[in-house]
């Protein structure tokens, strides 16, 4: 009988041998390059030509191979690579550290970190796509150039633009996480030296808050330690499945930790593996309609208040009363960026007023909230019981509250204000196992040099407050003449992505003034004509060619050296600081971004950029970060006293690192597990310390947390929400977006890792079977998602009256442009997603799911509402993955 042909198009990478590191291998410590958890890793490096033996005495893992057992050191083929170290070929094996007692205990690792070795440059595999030398675009094609010429050209035109158009015509779009040394150098250039307001991080259109409602309540977004998630009885997780996006935090601390029997509640339309695990173990899945979390939180608060389940002792001690709310004008001095929000009266509250608000509105009744949120009333009631109902002994359950982007990227301000208020009345916020915190996305690698120039921003809120600077709008409006982009896709990561990319293309390649040869003076003349005729210049620093900004748009592309190619530092989401050791040579002419910044700054004639290595920046930045939660200045002071370098002292802390803010007691460095915890109060401070009351109290003037009200019909929200909901007459459904475990904070590498490229060769969209059936879509089909009405905010809207920045007023006054957006994805048809909602792959450069989402920022915070896209799904045909046996499994994620 002949074999049937069921697809055989793609490669299989299945090795059945891997070299073991010999006893002589050098061992260096680092942490993962990807998600916020930052598991500790060890790098074993040895020259090509030898291998370790299978006997324990003959390999660096001190393990006899082969063995059959669990949780022991093992090298998978993906954990090995061959790199150049000091010009000579070396084996490297990158393994989770089995000895660490923090973060990733028991050798835990994700599929991303577990394949770190595969990200290292090796010309024999797809990492050969790395950028190897600076390039300048000549008539559309990138040509090799020297660092000298590239930075001279940048400096020539920058000087002209700064003189002719001013600082705010010169901008930076930057990662906020890719190591302290780089972010400090970049912000020193942009904010301190040039002094432009036109700087935005990779994940926001402006330099604004992420979870603003937490900030306004006085809660630091990264107040918790991982051990808190281990200790709690109940974890309420909003807009996040940490199994997908915080792997070792979930597997080592949420599934285990001090209390492995904890109950898990997930508020998300997508039932992924962590949700399925939670439900199987007595937890709850609340598949909410996108954008309606505020009402869920308020309905839960109502049930709690009606039943008197609130933690009254905590409220009495730790929540501000009316007079305390007003002290310091809500949260501090009147000059704080967010002060205006809390003093308006719409939001600020105290316990009696908050109760009145919750009980006084009909939409907070559970039946009414159930209708709008799409949840079952009994599930909302059960959730309230789980998080707040006192136990038979009268004790309150130890509930911790985690939020992430499903929460604050759908209704930025109100989902976070209502979330923080709910958590506070349950008694969470400042003690072991009872925390309020973000889960985290990327790691905490921003060390700002400060000195921003927000006062140059033409936008302002009603009243006299300046808004944060919306770089997307500024660029679309043609006000930006020069943009230096560091390690981000910019367009795919923001909203109305295609509109944004079109604007960038129009002002660069669409302008008739194109570089036609590599003569420095000729380049300056043509770029001058470009900017004087409404065009602009893009410089893109990255490790790979990025679609479309690097491949199609940028005039200058600079090759960056990255993880493993330079000594770097940063913190994870429990503020744990580690040294990420250099262990191999960067490819070609690639240089760390701090080096490129310094080179450019020197060409500009700026002083203060003569760093010899990354450690010098680490030490310089310490002083400026000492007032913040990432303060490591005491480590640098101690290192200097001991006549060693800051990086070298940190290296001795290995994969354990130390949690910031760091303090000194009896001459020893002491880390800080949890913020706002009264146990952190050491009394009088000494030496290098800076007095910060958020160490042992909430981050408000009174030290008490502020309860915030979140009225569902607030016009700054409801007008937008009503305008962007899916239109049933057009057959639209919600198109939300997100990422999955296999490609989380690692998208820039994944297509170059053979196994991950095989797993996700093309972006997905998860569609409910009922939605798929109606549209004739089957798993593996290519589908187009199209939204014919995508809103984009334009112009310079300044608020004078309260309603000026609300959607309807913006529309009336001509500040809302209507455009369209589409993308193509491979359908995964599965009951894991709520019906009426489809979840697409976020920030995939060639298929930007954000193209169908609206670039109208939350008027309260100037942050985007990324998750609220809509669109019509149309089958285009079968993808090659539909019948392949080797690529892109289409199976459901919630089977456990």
């Amino acid at each position: 009988m002949a074999e049937k042909d069921f697809g055989s198009t793609f490669a299989i990478y299945a090795k059945d041998h891997v070299p073991l590191p010999p006893r002589s291998a050098e061992v260096l410590t680092t942490a993962c390059d990807y998600c916020t958890v930052a598991c500790g890793y060890k790098v074993y490096r040895w020259p090509v030509g030898s291998e370790g033996g299978m006997r324990a005495a003959e390999n660096a893992l001190k393990t006899d191979f082969p063995y059959q057992g669990v949780l022991r050191p093992w090298v998978s083929p993906s954990q090995h690579n061959i790199v150049r170290h000091r010009g000579k070929p070396h084996h490297v094996v990158v393994l989770p550290d089995f000895e660490t007692k923090v973060v990733n205990t028991n050798g835990a690792h994700s599929i991303r970190g577990g394949t770190l070795a595969q990200k290292c440059y090796n010309p024999e595999n797809r990492t050969s796509e790395r950028l190897l030398y600076p390039m300048i675009r000549v008539r559309g094609t990138l040509m090799p150039a020297s660092w000298e010429l590239a930075t001279e050209v940048m400096a020539d035109i920058s000087k002209y633009i700064l003189k002719q158009y001013g600082e705010h015509a010169w901008g930076i779009k930057m990662y906020s996480y890719q190591y302290f040394e780089n972010t400090y150098a970049i912000t020193k250039l942009g904010m301190s030296t040039i002094g432009t307001p036109a700087i935005a991080p990779h994940d926001k259109c402006s330099n604004t808050n992420d979870a603003a409602g937490l900030d306004d309540a006085g809660i630091d977004s990264f107040a918790a330690s991982y051990e808190d998630w281990g200790m709690c009885d109940v974890a309420f997780m909003s807009g996040v499945d940490p199994y997908e996006t915080k792997t070792a935090l979930f597997t080592e601390w949420i599934m285990k930790g001090a209390n492995p029997g904890k109950k898990l509640i997930f508020v998300t339309p997508h039932k992924t593996a962590g949700v399925a695990y939670g439900v199987k173990n007595g937890g709850l899945w609340l598949p909410i309609i996108p954008g309606t979390d505020t009402l869920l939180h308020n309905a839960l608060a109502r049930i709690i208040i009606e039943n008197k389940w609130q933690d009254q002792a905590f409220l009495d001690r730790w929540v501000a009363n009316r007079w305390e709310v007003d002290s310091g004008y809500g949260r501090g001095t009147r000059n704080t960026g967010w002060q205006w929000r809390t003093t308006w009266g719409t939001w600020q509250s105290d316990w009696p007023d908050y109760q009145k608000f919750i009980l006084g509105r009909d939409e907070h009744r559970v039946e009414n909230a159930a209708k709008i949120t799409g949840l079952r009333a009994e599930d909302i009631r059960r959730c309230a019981e789980m998080i707040a109902k006192p136990l038979p002994d009268g004790q309150h359950p130890k509930t911790s509250f985690m939020l992430e982007k499903g929460n604050y990227w759908s209704n930025n301000y109100m989902n976070t204000t209502s979330f923080s208020a709910l958590a506070l009345i349950c008694g969470a916020g400042n003690r072991a196992g009872r925390v309020i915190s973000r889960g985290g996305g990327h790691q905490r690698g921003m060390m700002s040099a400060g000195g921003g120039s927000g006062w140059l921003n033409p936008e302002k809120y009603p009243g006299r407050r300046k808004k944060s600077f919306n770089l997307d709008r500024w660029m679309i409006d043609g006000k930006l003449k020069f943009a230096w982009v560091f390690g981000t896709t910019w367009f795919a990561a923001m909203l109305a992505s295609q509109e944004l990319a079109d604007a960038a293309y129009r002002m660069t390649r669409g302008n008739p003034n194109q570089i036609s040869n590599l003569d420095r003076k000729a380049i300056f003349e043509v770029l001058k004509k470009r900017v004087d005729s409404g065009g602009m210049i893009f410089v893109d620093s990255d490790i790979y060619p990025v679609e479309p900004i690097g491949t199609q748009i940028a005039d200058i592309v600079l090759p960056a050296a990255t993880w493993g190619e330079e000594d770097f530092t940063r913190c994870n989401s429990e503020r744990r600081l580690r040294l990420y050791a250099k262990f191999y040579d960067p490819p070609g002419e690639a240089k760390p971004d701090w080096w490129a910044v310094a080179k450019f700054a020197q060409k500009m004639g700026f002083a203060g950029y003569d760093w010899k290595d990354s450690n010098e920046i680490f030490e310089e930045a310490a002083r400026l970060g000492r007032g913040g939660v990432l303060n490591y200045q005491p480590l640098v002071v101690k290192a200097r006293a001991e006549k060693q370098r800051g990086h070298e002292l940190l290296r001795t802390y290995g994969t354990d690192g130390i949690q910031t803010p760091i303090r000194i007691r009896d001459g020893k460095l002491v880390g800080t597990p949890r913020l706002h915890d009264p146990a952190n109060d050491w009394g009088e401070i000494e030496g290098q310390e800076v007095h910060r009351q958020w160490l042992y109290a909430f981050n408000t003037h009174s030290g008490k947390a502020v309860l915030l009200k979140s009225p569902w019909n607030f016009p700054g929200w409801i007008q937008f929400y009503d305008a962007i909901k899916p239109r049933s007459e057009k057959g639209e459904i919600w198109i939300t977006n997100g990422r999955v475990n296999e490609t989380w904070q690692s998208g820039f590498d994944d297509l170059r890792k053979p196994y991950l490229a095989q797993r996700w060769p093309y972006p997905f969209i998860v569609v409910h079977p009922n939605d798929a059936r109606k549209r004739g879509v089957e798993g593996g089909d290519f589908v187009q998602v199209h939204n014919d009405t995508v809103y984009v905010q334009t112009g310079e809207p300044t608020g004078v009256k309260d309603e000026d920045l609300n959607f309807n007023t913006l529309l009336k006054n001509g500040h809302i442009k209507t455009t369209e957006g589409q993308f193509v994805a491979v359908a995964v048809v599965s009951e894991e997603i709520r019906e009426g909602v489809a979840m697409a792959n976020f920030n995939y450069p060639s298929a930007p799911a954000n193209a169908v989402c609206h670039a109208v920022p939350d008027p309260m915070t100037n942050n985007y509402r990324y998750k609220l896209g809509r669109g019509v799904l149309t089958k285009l045909g079968e993808s090659p993955y539909k019948r392949s046996f080797t690529s892109m499994t289409l199976k459901p994620r919630h089977i456990i």
Binding site: H17, V18, A56, E58, P77, F885, T889
Partner: protein, 193 residues
């Protein structure tokens, strides 16, 4: 019934010096009948002290692991291969899969140890989805229709697949695609004929 082998997933030569198995190497490995335990070829195997738990074979054996007529759809059967310590399962999925043998190309075999951190996958087969898992340690799941690819979870490799052939009604294991957890090599010389 003709002899069935791994389907031809052509993908070029091994570029890194490791072993990237293709049809040819499967055939070579599967065609070998050498089961001599080779000592001396590998460091550590000949040492007098600290012996490994078991010695490696020179190449993959051909071993009968079941019969087509005895397999019921959705009901896995466990077997050991290529060593008595290494546990695998054979299953008729009812839908075709990569490397599947039998009239429906739906009979496949996989190792039962999770290539993430060694968790046992015994008894976790989900016949309605052709999924193995979730692993009890960290919840990884594997798609048995697509060569054991990770669906969700943390393994950095697909689940090692036992390469099958049929001879009449007999199902033979002839090789392993992918490194078995706890091993640094499956056999002494995986490419030896």
């Amino acid at each position: 019934m003709s002899q069935q082998t791994m389907k031809p997933h052509e993908h070029g030569e091994d570029r890194e010096g490791g072993v990237c198995m293709n049809r040819r190497s499967f055939l070579l490995a599967g065609g070998a009948t050498v089961t001599v335990v080779a000592l001396g070829a590998i460091p550590g195997l000949t040492a007098a002290q600290g012996k490994p738990q078991f010695a490696l074979r020179a190449s993959y054996p051909r071993q009968k692991v079941g019969t087509l007529s005895a397999l019921a759809t959705g009901k896995p059967v466990n077997f050991t291969y290529p060593y008595p310590q290494v546990q695998n399962m054979l299953v008729k999925m009812g839908v075709p899969g990569g490397g599947g043998v039998g009239p429906g190309s739906d009979v496949v075999a996989f190792n039962l140890i999770c290539p993430h951190q060694g968790g046992p996958l015994h008894g976790t087969y989900k016949p309605e989805h052709q999924i193995l898992g979730a692993c009890p340690l960290h919840l990884t799941t594997f798609d048995l229709t697509r060569h054991g690819m990770v669906i969700s979870g943390h393994a950095t490799e697909s689940l090692p697949q036992i390469v099958l052939e049929t001879q009449g009604n007999d199902i033979l294991a002839v090789g392993v695609m992918g490194l078995i957890y706890g091993f640094s090599r499956n056999v002494v010389n995986p490419r030896a004929a």
